[in-house]
């Protein structure tokens, strides 16, 4: 049986109640957002449920939205059910002051480096990660470069106008 987005929504609502998730669909891909405390429970359910079987972690990354107070950082999981060939995107938000999210390394060995990368660039602490340290940047770095407060251009330059590049 091919999995449909409607069925996944229904299954998740049965398990976690009506209000836990917000659902959205973009370009055919189902996106669900859950509270961050629930991320492992949801991932576990998606992994273990006999119908859902989302057992392949395609991608894990972070996004920074400085204007969303209280949920500035997002962790984005792309999951794939290889048998029914169905993909979903799962997101949790966390505040930038206490950026703590449970690790998915227990479920997916592949999450290890992906989480280290996300920590490296966004400073998201993955609670329970076996070896959470920087991976691509130097160990001595004391900031998280993909956060939006670090603009790419050299800030001492005055000959360039940010407006010209699409972002003020």
């Amino acid at each position: 049986m091919a999995l449909t987005n409607e069925y996944i929504i229904q299954r998740l609502k049965e398990k976690f109640g009506e209000d836990l998730f917000t659902f959205q669909e973009s370009y055919g891909l189902l996106e669900l957002v859950a509270p961050k405390e629930m991320n492992l429970k949801v991932l576990n359910f998606l992994y273990d449920d006999a119908q859902l079987q989302f057992r392949f972690l395609t991608d894990l990354t972070g996004v920074h939205y400085p204007n969303r107070t209280g949920e500035e950082l997002a962790v984005v999981y792309h999951l794939h059910n290889l048998q029914s060939n169905c993909r979903i995107r799962f997101k949790v938000h966390t505040s930038v002051d206490q950026p703590e999210v449970f690790t998915a390394t227990g479920l997916f060995s592949g999450a290890n480096w992906m989480e280290r990368e996300t920590y490296d660039f966004f400073g998201i602490q993955f609670v329970g990660h076996p070896n959470l340290k920087r991976i691509l940047n130097v160990d001595e770095m004391d900031y998280f470069p993909l956060r939006k407060e670090f603009p790419l251009e050299d800030q001492t330059r005055i000959d360039k106008d940010d407006e010209m590049f699409g972002r003020g």
Partner: protein
């Protein structure tokens, strides 16, 4: 002499294992990466990988660039098959912008992508030969990679970092010479590939060096997020071209070669078979390209004036074309807001682009799913308990490209 001149770290005299730094610039790593190996004699007890030596912050740079200028960044991911990355990126943009590409563009792209796949697998398999002590095969097939590069050159003017194609299609139509070169390649390469295959496939030394080395079970490979030839060698027939066809791959007839044990030898065989499949796909695509008649036979891009550069003569004579030209060159086109994930089957596996746009002129966030980065973390598990020479073999059979790993 009582004074001690050499200060050793505590415990280093009693220690029975040897620490060996393999890399960052070891000739056998074929890229800048470091492995700190703990050796018991010649057996590997543990390995600690350090990566990031050529990290260039592409994801950060992309947040300040218009879509068309990000193509040059994708060139530098897996630089053994740049056109694949280029096409993947264009398709991601097209998905976000809702651009429909004409069939002829799809087929031309398939030709280029499969050529790039052959170039990529060719390097990997012949380098495996080099690491096993057979240099001749490598030098021999390099001539044929040269033929592929000449085709690239004819299409886009560049050879390695190609920046090929545009959003919506190609910058220009393939010249007759490009097709001539393609025909030459299609005529000459199969014979060489067969010879290359004969040299290795049943070669006792090569088999002894690779069989049962660096194996992984299908279950572990999936858990680690393996994709591409490395996953297929473990026996899982996951191929993005088949599962989520893009660029009209559903029009082609090909099989997915799979292995059983997931060891170096299987990985080599899978790549070898994929090259034959790629050749067959190129032939089919070339046939389809030739079958277009009339006006269709010269279509090489979609009609997307806001993202596709107008012809130069129009820029000088038409106001509208001048405006589009200016907006595209200066990167002043607003990208529609949205979130899109698109993936293609690149040389090493599923290359994904996760693009978030907030309606600005550059992506709000762009993340590359780099297959190399994801499967290299399994390296310790693959080599633990094996000999040092097997570790080298395993590394080259994974086809690690530092550019893709570090992004």
């Amino acid at each position: 002499m009582t004074e001690q001149h050499i200060k050793l770290p505590a415990g280093s005299i009693e220690k029975t294992t040897t620490t060996l730094n393999l890399g960052p610039t070891h000739p056998a790593t074929h890229g800048v990466m470091q492995n700190i190996l703990e050796l018991d004699g010649e057996r590997i007890v543990s390995a600690d990988q350090t990566i990031g030596y050529i990290h260039r912050a592409f994801e950060k740079i992309a947040e300040r660039r218009p879509l068309a200028q990000i193509t040059t960044l994708t060139d530098r991911l897996n630089y053994c098959s740049s056109p694949l990355n280029n096409m993947g990126w264009h398709m991601t943009c097209e998905k976000l912008l809702g651009v429909q590409t004409p069939k002829r563009v799809d087929y031309l792209r398939v030709i280029v992508m499969e050529l790039a796949r052959i170039a990529d697998h060719l390097i990997c398999n012949s380098i495996m030969g080099v690491d096993a002590g057979a240099y001749t095969g490598f030098l021999y097939v390099m001539q044929f990679r040269e033929l592929i590069y000449e085709i690239y050159e004819e299409i886009c003017g560049a050879r390695l970092t190609t920046n090929m194609g545009r959003i919506g299609g190609f910058e220009r139509d393939f010249s007759p010479l490009a097709f001539e070169k393609l025909e030459k390649f299609l005529a000459e390469y199969p014979k060489a590939l067969k010879e290359f295959e004969d040299m290795f496939q049943r070669n006792r030394i090569f088999m002894d060096r690779t069989m049962g080395v660096g194996g992984i079970s299908a279950e572990r490979a999936l858990n680690y997020g393996f994709t591409g030839p490395n996953l297929r060698a473990a026996g899982v027939d996951y191929d993005v071209r088949v599962q989520n066809p893009y660029s009209s791959y559903q029009d082609f007839d090909f099989t997915i070669p799979v292995g059983t044990t997931g060891d170096c030898y299987d990985r080599w065989l899978v790549r070898e078979q994929e090259m034959w499949q790629s050749l067959s796909i190129i032939r089919q695509a070339y046939q389809k390209v030739q079958s277009f008649k009339g006006a269709e036979a010269s279509v090489y891009h979609a009609d997307t004036p806001a993202y596709y550069l107008p012809a130069k003569e129009d820029v000088y004579t038409k106001m509208e074309a001048l405006i589009y030209h200016f907006k595209i060159i200066m990167g002043e086109t607003e990208i529609p807001a949205g979130e899109v994930y698109h993936s293609i089957e690149a040389g090493n596996g599923e290359l994904g682009f996760y693009l978030i746009s907030d309606g600005g002129r550059a992506p709000y966030r762009l993340h590359f799913r780099r297959p190399c980065f994801i499967y290299y973390q399994a390296y310790e598990e693959l080599i633990k308990g094996s000999m040092l020479s097997d570790a080298i073999m395993t590394m080259s059979s994974l086809n690690l490209i530092a550019g893709e790993m570090d992004a």
